[in-house]
Amino acid sequence: MILELLAFLVLAATATLTALAALLVRELVHTILWVALFFVALSGFYFLVSAPFLGVLQLGVYAGAVTILLLFGVMVTRKRIFAREAATGLGPAPIALSLLVLVILATAATTVPSGTTQLSGFPIAALSTALFNVYGGWLLLLGLVMLPALAGSIYLVREDRE
């Protein structure tokens, strides 16, 4: 028990801090590193609540692919990424707004059922069965969304665009 709790606390702290760090540091390349760490922390959460498949997925997709993609982005636009960032036109309002949402949601978190999460014994087989039977349509849909997204991305980055 203590071990799990400890793991949870460490992961929570890591996730929060890395997220903050990713958004606050000025070096964009550092940001990518922090965010990679953030993704890893989240995958830790998934392992903790006995969702190992998702944990692996998170590591593969986010910590792996997305991070690399972001890194590519930084590299391509590299010349301009070191400029100091200006404040938004909205002033302190965004900070206040996000704080407000945070506070409310945190308050709301106290009203969730006082149950617990299951830490072990989740059959991956059940998930895969469900994914390809009950939620097969969803996956198909996902594929259908990805295809135009792919095409769109290619169109956007095409060199000889008028």
């Binding site: 958004l23 998702l54 036109g89 707004l97 978190a109 006082s114 299951q118």
Partner: protein, 107 residues
């Protein structure tokens, strides 16, 4: 082995969402904006997974939360891909990836 309380995870998820929103609202660099969006997105996915786990502790083999999370991860990855394509296009056409300068949406 005692399980961890649900509320803790939800609270973390809430905090992450807050951070994500903060980033979305204040960062002007398009890549940072994308990262902030990913943070917010991940907080949502976390919520799904955690609640799925919670339901699983009540009735065995409850897989809805994780299924949705799988789809969402896929979507988020797609979104990053498109987002980065936009970054590239923006960079080429305007020489800047500052979103505050891209105001062609205005009527």
């Amino acid at each position: 082995m005692t399980d961890l309380p649900l509320a803790g995870f939800v609270a973390v998820s809430a905090v992450l969402l807050g951070i994500g929103l903060f980033g979305i609202l204040t960062r002007r660099n398009f890549i940072l904006l994308l990262i902030a969006i990913e943070v917010a997105m991940n907080s949502a996915i976390l919520n799904f997974v955690v609640f799925g786990s919670y339901w699983n502790s009540i009735s065995a083999s409850s897989v809805e939360g994780q299924s949705v999370a799988v789809v969402l991860i896929g979507l988020a990855a797609t979104e990053v891909a498109v987002g980065l394509a936009i970054v590239l296009a923006l960079n080429r056409s305007r020489g800047s990836i500052n979103v505050a300068e891209a105001t062609t949406l205005r009527l």
